[in-house]
């Protein structure tokens, strides 16, 4: 018996989506096979990583990652420039967390100015995220979309409860859009359908099936992503072909494994490396399941995931 490489070819293809401008533009997606299986198909674009920054100091981030940005995070623009110039970020994800009613409840107008200031200071592609408050995001993201008009940003996240106004704003200002649902392939599909029914081009969509940290439901995210990919590729389900987002940092840097000092949990080892490894392994697992775009926080985790990606292509 001699070995024949068992190849599978799929009728479907992940949509290629670009964001940003000029020579800094990034394209994600475009593959017609499962992640990194280039022996049987095309994987034209590698997964991209955006550094997460916020529009207010990240007081709620644990020390390991807080310390990295302690000299720059009091000013959003400085922070953005630091990521671009010092950390060589390929893209930046600006989370407008201060708009959350439980945080500073900053107004949409105030926030729009921050978006403009950040855009003026950087030339890498920008992802603009709300605070994940359904009602408030509907206002904030509309203002942010307008403020960033013409910059080919990714804005999000549009959810079932607020997608209409956000989709309209992305459409009007020619942005890409993240559609987020909670760990259920059918909900993800449903939301993509609702959004495209509004006339939004499916080639501008990015699916966020909701991330989960290693040890905190990672397996659900992993399997939902694999199933979305298979639906898009093997069944050629057109509604399941947008690239996938893994919003890793925010889920990782709030769990006990990234917060508890070694003195409290001697069996878990060094808190610094533990946190970085946690974000790294979570992100690596996500790209193996099909994630095309990662949002991450710690530079060492980003560096190691990038090295892993370079080994994978």
């Amino acid at each position: 018996m001699s070995f024949v490489v068992p190849k599978e070819t799929f009728s479907g293809k992940v949509l290629a989506v670009d964001f940003g401008k000029d020579d800094k533009k990034i394209t994600i997606g475009g593959e017609n096979t499962l992640p990194f299986l280039s022996f049987e198909g095309e994987c034209p674009n590698k997964p991209a990583i955006a550094y997460e920054i916020q529009d207010c100091p990240p007081d709620d981030w644990p020390e390991t990652v807080l310390n990295v940005y302690k000299d720059v995070s009091s000013d959003t623009v400085t922070w953005a420039k630091y990521c671009q110039d010092e950390l060589k970020a390929d893209a930046i994800a600006l989370r407008l967390i201060s708009t959350h009613p439980d945080r500073d409840d900053r107004s949409a107008e105030d926030t729009a100015q921050t978006v403009k200031d950040v855009l003026a200071a950087i030339n890498v592609p920008l992802i603009i995220l709300g605070s994940n408050h359904i009602e408030k995001d509907a206002n904030v993201l509309v203002a942010a979309a307008e403020a960033s008009s013409g910059n080919n940003c990714i804005i999000g996240k549009a959810q079932e409860g607020n997608y209409k106004t956000i989709v309209a704003a992305a459409l009007a200002h020619n942005h890409k859009l993240i559609a987020m649902s909670e760990l259920d392939i059918n909900l993800a599909k449903q939301l993509n359908i609702l959004i495209t029914q509004m006339g939004f081009d499916k080639t501008k969509l990015i699916t966020d099936p909701m991330c989960a940290a290693l040890g905190y439901g990672l397996e659900y995210t992993y399997s939902v992503m694999e199933r979305i990919r298979l639906a898009g590729l093997a069944q050629n389900d057109q509604t399941m072909q947008p690239p996938i987002l893994g919003d890793v940092g925010m889920y990782v840097w709030k769990i006990k494994e990234t917060i508890a000092p070694e003195a409290d949990v001697p069996d878990w080892g060094s808190i610094e490396e533990r946190g970085i490894a946690w974000e790294t392994v979570t992100a690596t697992s996500m790209i193996l399941a099909g994630t095309n775009l990662l949002i991450m926080r710690h530079p060492k985790a980003v560096e190691n995931v990038k090295k892993t990606i370079d080994e994978l292509i």
């Binding site: 499962l34 992640p35 760990l183 397996e219 298979l230 490894a277 090295k307």
Partner: protein, 447 residues
């Protein structure tokens, strides 16, 4: 090729004697084809048929143990490419490599660290499963001494003997034969000598070749020498090789019934940088390795890998459950808020995460509802006023609280009246419908 039920039926005695526990030979044949029973259940089948069926009905990926005793690790026996189809069966063993020239102190320290690496995570005992001893000295006596030292300091851990020289391997295997070490170092050139050693000592063997084509030929050759417990080493070095080779080998075994690759896989994830090594090891764990070899076992690294392995190998069909308990967050006092939810792990993770985020000291009762989420458990009659009341009363929580206020998930607000009737003296407060509103809610409770 696996046989169909009808093909198997043709080989059976067709007497319908029922001794196998099935009403007819056909029913038994169908069950055999589906993989639910063993051919030995039929006492009247001929030896010839047994041999035919044994070959055909062998699992597509051979299963055997790494190591001996309680801490032996089962490998192989996988049936699917994707974990959402069916549970991945035998979790990837994590092995650490040590060089025989590292010095006695370093070797002892590593072996002891492995022997003491066990931790408990969500009710499972997790540990570094194996030690690979690599021969770099080229000195047989030195190698044997290193192997013996590891065996002594880590008396229950599985051993992998990594050496290409058959003479050196023979002496080392004999020294620890009772541990059934996995012999790693067999290539096309030394296959016969290595297979003889494996056979004489009842040890499994790693077949190492460059690429799957050469590897298929090598496993057939080793099998021809009488050794069947084979582990595949395709020479994968980069993460890409790991993903591609492992995917191809598993596909060939499962979908093409290609026997020469129907074995467990070993991958090396060794890198200079410890975090990168963790990342590459996680690639191997997610993508079908049965053994992954790393170079160091910092506690943070093994914790991350144990956890990832646990996640990947969780049964997707059984909702992951959290143990019924009243969990304390941020050192609550008798006055702290007291909430309840169900034991669906995702519900628990999300709710407890938000409670922790709020930094408000609280208690969270997690009630056993067979792993169902709040609404589903309510709909299934498992999260009802009567059952909640009973659980609260029996939990003994009343002694720990200065108040009698229970916060109910907003999704089951409908239960609050009935629950107040059943839980005498208690006030039932309806909490938020969505978990992300919990921090605001809790802060307002204590301000």
């Amino acid at each position: 090729m696996a046989l169909t039920g009808i093909q198997i039926f043709k080989l059976l005695p067709k007497t319908n004697c029922k001794k196998c526990g099935f009403p007819t030979c056909l029913a038994f044949a169908m069950k055999l084809a589906a993989g639910g029973v063993e051919i030995s259940a039929c006492p009247d089948v001929s030896d010839e048929t047994k041999a035919t069926l044994g070959e055909a009905s062998a699992p597509p990926i051979r299963s055997f143990a790494l190591g001996t005793g309680d801490k032996a690790v089962k490998m192989g026996a996988e049936n699917v490419m994707f974990r959402h189809d069916k549970k991945f069966v035998n979790p990837c063993a994590i092995a650490v490599n040590i060089k025989d020239d590292a010095g006695d102190d370093a070797i002892s320290a590593m072996a002891e660290a492995v022997a003491n690496s066990e931790i408990d995570r969500v009710g499972q005992k997790l540990r570094v499963d194996a030690i690979s001893i690599e021969c770099v000295s080229g000195d047989s006596a030195k190698y044997e001494a290193a192997v013996k030292l590891v065996a002594e300091k880590a008396p229950e851990t599985a051993l992998i003997l990594n050496c290409k020289d058959a003479g050196t391997i023979e002496a080392a295997v004999k020294a620890v034969a009772d541990r059934k070490p996995l012999i790693n170092g067999t290539t096309d050139g030394n296959a016969e000598a290595m297979a003889d050693i494996a056979k004489a000592n009842g040890c499994p063997i790693v077949a190492s070749a460059n690429g799957l084509d050469a590897l298929s030929a090598l496993t057939e050759k080793i099998k021809g020498f009488g050794v069947e417990d084979i582990v595949l080493d395709s020479g994968a070095r980069t993460a890409k090789d790991i993903v591609e080779h492992n995917t191809q080998a598993r596909r060939a075994a499962l979908k093409k019934s290609f026997k020469p690759l129907g074995y467990p896989v070993i991958n090396s994830a060794i890198r200079d940088d410890a975090i990168l090594e963790a990342s590459i090891a996680s690639v191997a764990i997610a993508k079908y390795a049965s053994i992954v070899v790393i170079s160091s076992i910092e506690k943070w690294k093994t914790l991350a890998l144990f956890t990832q392995r646990q996640n990947i190998y969780t049964d997707p069909q059984v909702p992951m459950q959290v143990e019924q308990n009243i969990y304390e967050m941020a050192e609550p006092t008798a006055d702290s808020p007291f909430m309840i939810t169900t034991n669906f792990s995702l519900t628990y993770f999300i709710v407890s995460g938000e409670v922790e985020n709020s930094k408000v000291p609280s208690r969270l009762a997690v009630m056993d509802c067979e792993g169902l989420s709040v609404l589903t458990a309510w709909a299934a009659g498992k999260f009802t006023a009567t059952k909640i009341a009973q659980y609260i009363k029996e939990s003994g929580i009343e002694d720990k609280l200065s108040h009698k206020e229970l916060i109910l998930p907003g999704q089951v607000a409908i239960l609050s009246g009935a629950l107040e009737d059943k839980l005498e003296g208690w006030t039932i407060t309806v909490g938020p419908r969505e978990a992300n509103a919990i921090p605001t809610f809790l802060k307002s409770k204590v301000s």
